[in-house]
């Protein structure tokens, strides 16, 4: 049992999943060390700005349709709600919903709040959120300021419980608590599991939870699962609070991303009896086959699944062969969150591309159900080992790595990463949509995107010929991992420049 719903907050990933943010080695070594849970995170003497939990938590919660979010922070921490509102609009467009702005209020903590506390503003924020948005639930996200000054957020919410007749839910996601921004997903899902989800009154044997991000490409899931007589429901963006309260009724949970889905899916399994399908994620053929087969096993529908797999696979054979011929041997470097990095390492090889390096922004040695992620074990079984690093968005490392490896293509995820490879003249694909390579057709679509990207590299070549990189000549000549030291041998003793 690893998900504890009796505590007010989710443990951070460093402690819960032995997650790390610094490492250089290979896929097989990573898997082997994770097996003994012996991997310690490397630290760096030079770091560039990363990301924090609050963004991941808030980004999920503000897109729940009839919820409101009150951000108890300085105004800057509310800045990424602008992006959330764009995501909101895109999601509404794809679902043919009426356009609205997100329901978000920031308490605008100032100097005064750091001295006297921000309770009055938080109360006002909650009252205004209730009055203006008429929400079914109000989530209150915490921040570095509220955390450091020791604001008793839960206490303040308790004090308003009688006045405000909807659940007031604290979401503990202070940025400084964890180096893993994915801890913010867990904070949001902990809040949902503890305050929103109710035990199922009756199970729906055909209902399948799908944990995804924006769900723009979800029609293909509807089609595939529909062929098995199953009905997917997409979590958690664009659900209603009522829907969320009943996700315990589902027959199983599937996830598009092991990093994203771990906490919610495991929590649903452990506490609400909804099995989590612990497969590869559905990117590319092996991924979707694993996803469907494991689902088939749990639902006792192996035969139908095999029939489906056979038909869908056969349908793409000619196109896939053509693409493989075209892309064969092109060298690729990957930089993504761990689950996507591992899944894309596999699927790019399905397209006959050669993955020369797999960078991931962090690495979870365990998922919440207690096992090493299936994706890395699957990769480690291959004969060929692949170089890998864990690089928490450190673009100085990625820059030197790419200069050294000179790949034909860089495939990345996380906004703000594509530019740095492009500045080196390397054709770059930025994966924003989690459905980019979903299943059989997705693999073909993505393969074509790769071919198109390689077909006309003039934009990145022009860029590279004109711009100057922001690094000194000294740095450009260093090994990419110069600043990545081993984990500190003793507490508080810091290694500045050990070369790995």
């Amino acid at each position: 049992m690893s998900i504890n719903l009796t505590t007010p907050e989710a443990q951070i990933r460093e402690n819960r999943l032995s997650s790390i943010t610094g490492y250089k080695g290979s896929i097989k070594d990573l898997a082997a060390q994770a097996n003994g849970c012996s991997l310690k995170s490397g630290e760096r003497g030079f770091t560039q700005t990363t990301a924090c939990s609050l963004g991941c938590a808030q980004g999920q919660l503000v897109l729940i349709k009839d919820a409101a979010v009150v951000g108890h922070s300085a105004i800057g921490c509310g800045s990424d709600t602008i992006q959330s509102n764009i995501n909101n609009r895109r999601g509404q467009f794809s679902r043919e919903l009426e356009y609205t702005n997100i329901n978000y209020i920031n308490t605008n903590m100032t100097e005064e709040a750091t001295v006297f506390g921000g309770a009055a503003k938080l109360r006002e924020g909650i009252r205004e959120a209730y009055r203006r948005f008429n929400p079914k639930v109000i989530f209150v996200t915490t921040s570095c300021v509220s955390g450091i000054i020791g604001e008793n957020v839960s206490g303040i919410l308790d004090g308003l419980a009688e006045e405000i007749p909807v659940p007031l839910v604290p979401v503990h996601c202070e940025g400084f608590r964890s180096k893993l921004w994915a801890s913010g997903f867990d904070a949001a899902f902990h809040a949902i599991l503890t305050y929103i989800v109710k035990p199922a009154e009756k199970k729906n044997p055909n209902l399948i939870n799908i944990i995804n991000f924006s769900g723009i490409g979800r029609k293909e899931v509807v089609r595939l699962l529909g062929r098995l007589g199953l009905v997917p429901q997409f979590l958690v963006q664009f659900t209603t609070v009522d829907q969320l309260s009943k996700i315990s009724e589902a027959a199983a949970t599937l996830s598009f991303c092991g990093t994203l889905g771990s906490y919610l899916a495991s929590g649903l399994e452990e506490h609400f009896g909804v099995p989590y399908i612990k497969s590869l994620q559905p990117h590319g053929v092996a991924g979707i086959n694993s996803w469907l087969r494991e689902l088939g096993k749990v639902l006792g529908r192996e035969e139908e699944v095999e029939k489906l797999i056979a038909e869908e696979t056969a349908a793409i054979v000619p196109e896939l062969e053509e693409l493989r011929e075209k892309l064969k041997g092109k060298r690729v470097v990957i930089g993504m969150g761990p689950s996507f990095s591992q899944n894309y390492t596999r699927l790019l090889q399905e397209l006959a591309l050669e993955v020369v390096w797999a960078a991931s922004w962090h690495f979870d040695q365990r998922h919440d159900y207690g096992e090493i992620p299936a994706t890395i074990l699957d990769l480690a079984k291959n004969e060929k080992d692949i170089s890998a690093c864990v690089s928490e968005l450190q673009v100085h490392e990625i820059n030197n790595l790419l200069r050294q490896l000179k790949p034909d293509l860089f495939v990345c995820r996380h906004p703000g990463m594509a530019i740095w490879s492009a500045k080196l003249g390397i054709p770059t694909i930025f994966i924003n949509d989690e459905y980019q390579s979903f299943g059989y057709q997705g693999l073909i679509n993505f393969g074509n995107r790769v071919a198109d990207t390689l077909a006309n590299p003039t934009f990145v070549q022009y860029l590279a010929s004109k711009i100057k990189l922001p690094y000194t000549n000294w740095w450009l000549e260093q090994d990419a991992f110069t600043f990545l030291g081993e984990a500190p041998p003793k507490k508080k003793e810091r290694i500045t420049k050990a070369v790995v």
């Binding site: 800057g76 992006q83 978000y104 605008n108 570095c144 300021v145 100085h396 500045t496």
Partner: protein
């Protein structure tokens, strides 16, 4: 008199950001790099907000995830982060290629009480071009942050000059990146000043940079083209280098205000008025040409023309755009919402400007940073015909509700892609007219 908005202290919809977001003012200086002593999420979030979802300007030379940052977590909060900051600055000097390094603090560093300025001073003593501004997000908004950064550079980096260069004018105006049109706008100000015979020294944007910064003490005078932001900086420069300043509060948009502005600057600089008048006559010609040509449509479009225009904007644009639309295009103002949390001591002056938009026209002003307050006020207003809402991407919704037209001119301009457009001067006024009337022609009125 401005109607006092209901005293709401919380903010619905972000229309400005925190002091640390002014890290963009460092990024706007060529050859300067920010070093953040902040939590792990600050850099990304502020970068996304100001450089992406605001005209998709992009991160430039060393923005976004390239910015060095301590990514402070528990250890720095509990034990203090000065040691880590020192280590980061040391390595940033080795790794990042720049002529000026500006250390900026976030909430964590400032609340736990790190003496970051002292850490930076240690590097200054070794002759390194490192300055520090304490911009913890709770200490104010990005306008305050912008002033703090300029203040730190003036105080800790600029050196007095023995010579003064006649005709050299330092320009301090709109806030880089926050104003998505900043590069085009500053370039337009440069062209205007050069047209009347001055040399504009502009720190931010292409053509400026650390070189421009080094020339600041040589200027004949400082021009503050801003309702209030930057006033502390020109006062500071007056004190440190004895450079006088001209404070001109109205962002000049359109012929009436731009010509007035150039006359005022010319007079202050001691330029012969014939020279200035001759330049103005030339500058007005293209504007007059296009306005004559488009007057057919501008008149016929009155069928669907906005009954009143509303700005929901910072004090720069609210005032500049209002003056243009009233004086040059003959439109009528509704309530103007000023969202930049303008300090109380400057509010009365700004209200005076709105009282005298033209000799016969004034506009009511509401100072608020909360969209809920704005929405409620607009819902109470009875509009005849369609209002024109000049605000940000947030305002698409209220414009739809009011059956109005909407154009994003202000942060966050998440529905605009902006490169070198400007809304300043004669050219900028044409551009603004293009954008407003494009909204009209693309809708079915």
């Amino acid at each position: 008199m401005a109607k006092a908005a209901k005293k709401i202290k919380v903010i619905e919809q972000v229309r400005y950001s925190c002091a640390l977001a002014a890290l963009h003012s460092v990024l706007a200086i060529d050859r300067a790099v920010p070093i953040l002593h902040a939590g792990p999420g600050c850099g990304q979030r502020l970068s996304t907000a100001l450089s992406t979802t605001n005209g998709y300007q992009g991160t430039g030379y060393a923005g976004g995830h390239a910015m060095p940052c301590t990514n402070s977590t528990e250890a720095e909060v509990i034990f203090g982060g000065e040691k880590k900051l020192k280590e980061l600055i040391t390595h940033s000097l080795e790794v990042m290629d720049a002529d000026l390094y500006v250390v900026l603090t976030g909430c964590t560093a400032d609340i736990v009480g790190d003496d970051s300025t002292e850490v930076a001073r240690g590097f200054q003593k070794q002759g390194k071009p490192v300055v520090c501004a304490q911009t913890g997000g709770f200490s104010g908004n990005n306008f305050v942050g912008h002033e703090l950064i300029l203040g730190a550079i003036i105080d800790q980096y600029l050196q007095p000059s023995e010579e003064i260069e006649p005709g050299l004018v330092n320009v301090f105006s709109i806030v880089p990146y926050y104003d998505a049109f900043w590069t085009g706008n500053l370039e337009e100000i440069r062209k205007l000043l050069e047209a009347i015979g001055l040399k504009a020294n502009i720190i931010f944007g292409p053509g400026g940079g650390v070189d421009a910064l080094n020339k600041v003490p040589k200027a004949q005078f400082n021009l503050l083209l801003s309702p209030w932001i930057g006033l502390t900086n020109v006062k500071q420069l007056e004190e440190k280098f004895k450079t006088p300043y001209l404070h001109y509060p109205v962002l000049p948009i359109g012929p009436t205000e731009t010509s007035k502005f150039l006359r005022a600057v010319g007079k202050y600089a001691g330029l012969p008025s014939e020279q200035v008048e001759a330049s103005i006559a030339e500058l007005e010609k293209p504007y007059d040409y296009y306005i004559e040509r488009s007057a057919d449509y501008l008149l016929q479009a009155r069928v669907g023309l906005p009954s009143r225009f509303i700005t929901i904007s910072d004090s720069f644009y609210a005032l500049g755009i209002s003056k243009f639309l009233v004086n040059d295009l003959g439109l009528l103002p509704g309530t103007q919402f000023i969202i930049d949390n303008i300090p109380a001591k400057y509010q009365a002056d700004l209200e005076e400007e709105f009282k005298d938009l033209s000799p016969t026209i004034s506009a009511p002003v509401v100072f608020t940073n909360d969209s809920g307050t704005i929405r409620e006020k607009l819902r109470e207003t009875k509009f005849r015909g369609k209002p024109l809402i000049l605000g940000s991407a947030w305002d698409q919704m209220i414009a739809k509700e009011l059956n109005g037209y909407q154009l994003s001119v202000s942060f966050p301009a998440a529905d605009r892609f902006i490169l070198n457009s400007t809304y300043i001067g004669y050219n900028g006024a044409l551009r603004l007219a293009e954008d407003i009337f494009s909204v009209l022609v693309s809708s079915n009125y």
